[in-house]
Symmetry: C2
Subunit: 161 residues, 2 copies
């Protein structure tokens, strides 16, 4: 369940990660200079970290507005029954649905928290019908409209320890 790729990261690796998770278009030369290694060593480490899935992906971040999806919603979903098979079906549906940007299965007041993007309210309304109305296992959901995406990112701090 937790195939954490145990690859021991030293402080060189962490410094490299700190840079590429801000910009993976930095050249090995630039990175090498900042971390105090040769360009080839930087590349070897990056290759290893990609192989071991320490670096999970290398992506371009697209402006949602340019993509014609200026609205973001945070949705809390509560299920009727927490049956494993029904939950798996729900997870699968969320993974496949293009409007779902993020989906977390959580403890607490609700069962799932979703981050949804859409063109407008009507678009969101359509999503809720498709995803929730047909699903008899959904007890209810609560929507928060995002007015300001104060901070958005996937970067993780790598400091201490």
């Amino acid at each position: 369940m937790s195939p954490t790729p145990s690859l021991n990261l030293d402080s060189f690796d962490r410094n490299i990660l700190e840079i590429v998770q801000r910009s993976n278009r930095a050249t090995s030369d630039q990175i090498a200079e900042q971390v105090g290694l040769s360009p080839a060593a930087v590349q070897r480490r990056l290759k290893k970290m990609r192989e071991h899935k320490v670096i999970q992906a290398d992506i371009s971040v697209v402006d949602p507005r340019s993509a014609g999806r200026p609205m973001t919603f945070v949705v809390q979903v509560t299920l009727e029954r927490e049956r494993a098979d029904l939950m798996d079906a729900f997870k699968k549906e969320m993974k496949l649905h293009p409007a779902v940007q993020q989906c977390y299965y959580v403890t607490g007041s609700s069962d799932f928290i979703l981050i949804i993007t859409g063109k407008d309210m009507e678009d969101y309304d359509r999503f809720t019908r498709e995803a929730f109305f047909d699903n008899t296992n959904i007890r209810g959901f609560q929507t928060n409209v995002v007015m300001d995406a104060v901070k958005v990112g996937l970067s993780v701090p790598l400091a201490e320890e």
Copy 2:
């Protein structure tokens, strides 16, 4: 307020974005073949989209577990007063705090929704003290512990229109 860089994207651009937001390490040759353009044309379009901030960033996604931050929390924060200056201060604090991966200012039952990463519960507890306890403007907060990050990403669908 909304400096959407009006750069009209045609279907070539959208196809290119669709590829690079999954993997920006695809070479121009690979992209060119898939979209039906020459490698140079692909590069030119990518350059333009980066200049116009249609592509906001190019990043490596680091596995939080490898980074020593295996836990994720979704936090709903309610403010005491919605005063502009206090809110701006809170936003600024969230932007700066390394544990805060995402922060949304929302309408609805709560005022802010945060995605927090941490090493363990103790780590999270420390965060709440730092960020919330000292802040007299915070009425309360509710925590959801993430058991399964079903879907995580920043990709936006680019279909229709």
